[in-house]
Amino acid sequence: MIKVSQLTKRYARTTAVDQISFEVAKGQIVGFLGPNGAGKTTTMRMLTCFLPPSSGTATVAGFDVLEQPMDVKRRIGYLPETPPIYPEMETSEYLQFVGSLKGLLGVELTKRIDYVCQRCAIADVKTKLLGKLSKGYRQRVGLAQAIIHNPDVLILDEPTAGLDPKQINETRDLIKDLAGEHTIILSTHILPEVEQTCEQVIIVNKGKLVATDSVRNLQARARGAETVLVEVAGRNGTLEVPIVQTKLEQVAGVSRVFCKQQVDSRAIFEVESKKGSFVRGDVARAVVESGWDLNELRPAAMSLEEVFLQLTGNEATAPQETPVEVQA
């Protein structure tokens, strides 16, 4: 559905997007992940024909963004970072305007307005001025605007930015809900969002593509050895950190112990195990048998967050793999 190859956007001094290539299959929901300033918005703007690429090509539903912008625009629904609303318009008025701008007419338009209002749960604010709506409602009106012409592709730039946790969940559910009918690309710098909503993830950093893979594969890639967080407390108000550390290191299967934090007589250790060994039981026993209290013991599940940091933060240590193409 979307095919991007060697897409580049150069400005006078900087290269915002540097030879990015990826493909998105029909019906997929893809997370576009990267720190602020990674080139997410620029890439999306090129896909929506708002900005022309400096070099490289991008096609949406088989239409080139430079050669056939009108065909691309007809097939794309776009929600920019700030919902593009006119504060002096009423919700229904606004949807009518956007709908007719996208080429809808008469009965069809009325039907679509009713449909998106119900779909995005904005029917109750239909006659309110957009300027008076809360951030959450504005975001949903923004989404309604993007899907009004039933586009094949939805491009959402940070759809949950600035919302409160409840609204974030609602928006995510709505996006997941829409996934069946549209191919969706959503950008975000919030990792759990990708874990929760997306099937595929495209990670960019400093304009360069770092990885594209399924969310599951990426998590698995990071999870070679297990890491356990252990909080140990001394009985009589004191705790000798080095002694605990040596004790933990002696446990069979442990490869590395590292004291993360110490407060009074409590300390949190990060215990890394060798690949394939299961050390939690032994670690617990070692702590208790040595006469300390075991306050907490939990696996530090390698979240996408860490994968992300690994991939974007320290490029020297990150695995230099060639990006895996997203499969259909």
Binding site: C49, P52, P84, Y86, E88, L101
Partner: protein, 255 residues
Amino acid sequence: MRNVWIICQKELRSYFASPIAYILLIMFGVVFGFFFWNALGAFVFESIQSQMSGRSFPMNVNEWIIRPLLQNLSVVNLFFIPLITMRLFAEEKRTGTIELLATSPVRDIGIILGKWLAALALYACLLLFTAINFAFLFKYGNPDWKPLLVGYLGVFLLAGALLAIGTFISSLTKNQIIAGAVTFGACLLLYVFGWVSSYDTATWARVLSYMSVATHIESFEKGVIDSKDAVFYVSVIVLGLFFTARSMESLRWRS
């Protein structure tokens, strides 16, 4: 064409859904009302004088009231046109709604024409407001309506040209105040360029004087449609809208 109408409708709605249109209408009405009252007062004073002097000379309403008023009208334009055009693009750029327009299946020229026509329509409403004053002249006097109509046509063309310039300037910035101030400066300069012809006849002075929007309105004010002046205004309109299109295009290549 349909898109032009959609954009135009939307612009008109935002003029009339906010206080902008009404405040402009009221202020324009008040200012022009004063000019009218003033011109009428002068006319009455002069005609009494002419009767008292014993040898009354014929006084023409067109000559004494309508023509000076039309002149005033084109000056008042200078102040009101920046107010009409300053938000057209600047506001969309500031709030980011320009992204919605630019990613919709609409050509740039459709957006530009729609916006300019909406501005022109609002200006036409202002002109209609002034017609109330002239209606009194027709009720109590017997002026010739043809020169008045031609005068209106001239003022309308002049406004169209200045509105096109204002639209272009608004597309250059995100800031309404900047757009308004620059438009005002540009309109004022284009208005006073004609002054140089009074003391200089060198080529540059003639060019400058030709560029002045004020020199081309004179024939209309006299009730004469001069095609060369009409062509001048239409060319300025086309040029202004053409520059706006280029500016929108460059917005894409630069931003």
